[in-house]
Symmetry: C2
C-alpha cells in the first residue's frame, strides 16, 4: 500500500498514499474495520506493564514493526513507586497525539505546510471521587484542556480551521468526550 | 507522606500508608485536587512525542521521579512510519493500567493476596468514521472489551467482586464510559 514519490512530502505526510488509501477504503469499506489491543501484566502494587504489538486491520492480522512496552504506576504521593506515568496521564497523551497526527494529515491534504505544532494538555481531577470519600465527585477528570501552538504557511484563521477539522475527526477526542461502552470479563482459573 | 514498615506489603501495597492517605484526605479534602499534564511536540507526519513530568497535587507542584517520554505514530497501513503505538492504543493501555492498579490496592485493603493479574483489552473501530467516509460511523471505538485473568487467595466470586469494585472506582473507566468535557485553545503566534 506504499508508493514512493520524488516530491518532498509536505509535513512528512505521503499525501498521494493518503488519498490512495482513502480511495481504497471507499471501494472496500470493510478494510476500515480495525481492532487495536493491549496486554497488561501486574507487577506489584500500582505498578503494571502494558504491551502493544498486534492489531487487526485491512482484512488481516498485523503487527507493529516493534513491540511497544509501557509501565504505569502511581507517584509516591499516591502510594505508588513512580515507575511510570499514571493511567490518567496516558489518556492526556493519547488525546494530544491524536489531535496532532490528524492536524498534520489534514494540513498536508489541504496544502498547508506546518513548521511547528506543540500542545499541552491538562486534566483536573478531584481524588475525593475515586477514593470513595465524596459521592458527589466523579472518579475521572472533571475537565480536560488542550492548548495548541501552531505555526505554518497559512493565516491564523486557517490554522485554527485545520485544528477544528482535526478535532471533528479525532478518534480519541470522540472517545473522551462521548464515551465508549466497556465490557469487563473475568477469568479466575 | 511515606513511612516504612517491616511487614511484608501485601500485593506490594503499603496498606498503612494507603489508609493514612485516605484519613489525611478526609481531614483536608482540598489535598485531593490534582492536575495531571502532558506536553506534546509534533515530529513529522503522524509521528509526535509526548512528555510527562510535572503535576499538581496535595497543594503543591510536583514532578515525577523521572521524565517520561512516549512517541506515538500510525503504522504503515495507516500512512505512518510506526514510530510508536497509535493514540487509540494508548487509551486501551490506560484503561488496563487503571483497573489493575485499583485492583491491587483494593485487594490489599481487603486482605486478599493476589498472585497474578493479567488482562487484554481490545477496541473495535471502524475507520470509515474518522476518514469521513460514512457519517453514520463514529470516529472513536465502538466497543472496548477487557478480559482479566486473576489469581489469588480468595474464591472466584470474591476475586470478581474486587474487580467490580476496581471498575466502580476507576478514573479511566469513568473517563472512557461517561466522557469528559474537552476544551481546545489555539495560539497561532
Amino acid at each position: 500500500m506504499t508508493t514512493t514519490t520524488n516530491r518532498p512530502a509536505r509535513n512528512g505526510v505521503d499525501t498521494p498514499v493518503l488519498f490512495a488509501t482513502l480511495d481504497a477504503v471507499k471501494q472496500a469499506p470493510e478494510a476500515a474495520k480495525f481492532q487495536f489491543r493491549t496486554r497488561n501484566e501486574w507487577v506489584s502494587g500500582t505498578h503494571n506493564r502494558g504491551t502493544i504489538d498486534g492489531f487487526f486491520g485491512v482484512g488481516e492480522e498485523r503487527t507493529h514493526e516493534r513491540t511497544f512496552v509501557f509501565d504505569a504506576d502511581h507517584p509516591a504521593v499516591l502510594v505508588g513507586r513512580d515507575n511510570g506515568p499514571t493511567p490518567v496521564e496516558y489518556v492526556l497523551h493519547a488525546l494530544a497525539a491524536c489531535l496532532t497526527a490528524g492536524l498534520a494529515n489534514i494540513a498536508a491534504a489541504r496544502g498547508v505546510t506546518l513548521t511547528e505544532v506543540r500542545s499541552t494538555v491538562t486534566g483536573d481531577i478531584d481524588l475525593n471521587g475515586l477514593l470513595g470519600l465524596n459521592p458527589e465527585v466523579r472518579n475521572g477528570y472533571q475537565q480536560i484542556t488542550v492548548r495548541f501552538t501552531v505555526k505554518g504557511d497559512a493565516s491564523p484563521d486557517r490554522l485554527r480551521e485545520l485544528i477544528e477539522q482535526s478535532r471533528s475527526r479525532s478518534a480519541v477526542y470522540d472517545i473522551i468526550t462521548n464515551g465508549v461502552p466497556v465490557a469487563i470479563e473475568v477469568d479466575t482459573p
